[in-house]
């Protein structure tokens, strides 16, 4: 019998209009308790208006050893940044 509770990754939306951001992880026996634990661990200082939890094993991640082939080729391709346009002031933050 496995005695460890599964690991959950926690995502909190700080305010309406923003997207959920990863804030950390915790252990819980099931999804409902994970939300409750997230509420107690990560929102006790009024940090959020919405919580997502996902069991860590369901996340597929890149491997640190693939860093070279995955990310380095884009380093030298400055032309992919749309930095050559003048953005009108009234567009606001982009």
């Amino acid at each position: 019998m496995k005695h460890e509770w599964p690991l959950w990754e926690v995502f909190i939306r700080g305010q309406h209009g923003l997207s959920h951001r990863h804030v950390g992880s915790l252990h819980a026996p099931d999804a409902e308790m994970a939300v409750k634990n997230a509420r107690d661990v990560y929102t006790r200082r009024n940090e959020g208006v919405s919580i997502w939890v996902v069991e860590a094993r369901h996340i597929t991640a890149t491997s640190p050893s693939d860093k070279g082939p995955m990310f380095e080729p884009s380093e030298s391709k400055v032309y992919r940044h749309p930095t050559f346009f003048d953005i009108p002031d009234d567009v606001g933050a982009m």
Binding site: W5, H27, K36, N37, R39, D40, V41, R44
Partner: protein, 251 residues
Amino acid sequence: MSADLFEFLCRMGDNCLILGHRVSEWCGHAPVLEEDIALANTALDLIGQTQLWLGLAGEVEGKGRSADDLAFLRDAWDFRNVLLVELPNGDFGQTLMRQFLFDAWQELMLSALTQSSEPRVAEIAQKAVKEVAYHVERSGDTVIGLGDGSAESHARMQAALDLLYPYVGELFESDAVDQAMVKAGIAPDPESLRAAYDAKLAQVMGEATLTLPDDRFAHKGGRTGRMHTEHLGHILTEMQWLQRAYPGASW
């Protein structure tokens, strides 16, 4: 009237104070980090509610006593909490069983108090009932999880229920103070909450596969101040020693 209201407010505040202190004893000792933080949050909510209830009690009494004076400078015979909340924590399961038995009552009581004819009571209830709605959800889920868990956790939760159920009846006791509150429209008759409470307990204990004792015998004496258990004095020595040893100390 104001003497009765003072008594009523002390009952509400002392329940929160003593249970809050009991739950805070888990800080740094809970079985897992997440539960440790959750219990500390609950304890802090209860201490926050204590400040409101005892603050108002001091105002109503009119002798210039603050919430701190009432919390730290009264002795055991002046406390008006029910016996349930002063009982020792036992194991984690016993603590959560006590919490659920109290939370389920407190949610009903506070919901009724949001309709109080005394606006300051209604205001405190409106703030506290949101906190307590979460407490009861959490403690109820934990009672279900552990009751309907392993053979070991089930046995411990059944033992906790058998131990604590005889302390439930006191929550629904009614005396002259309660009758004065009912007459003034300030608070409901405690007895009137029992049916809803029983329904909630039946539902949660059913899901938890735990058996509610048939016997309705109730230990009493806390909320009237007639007689507390021997445990209250020990809580107070720990809780009050600083103000007793260094009167008026602040930091």
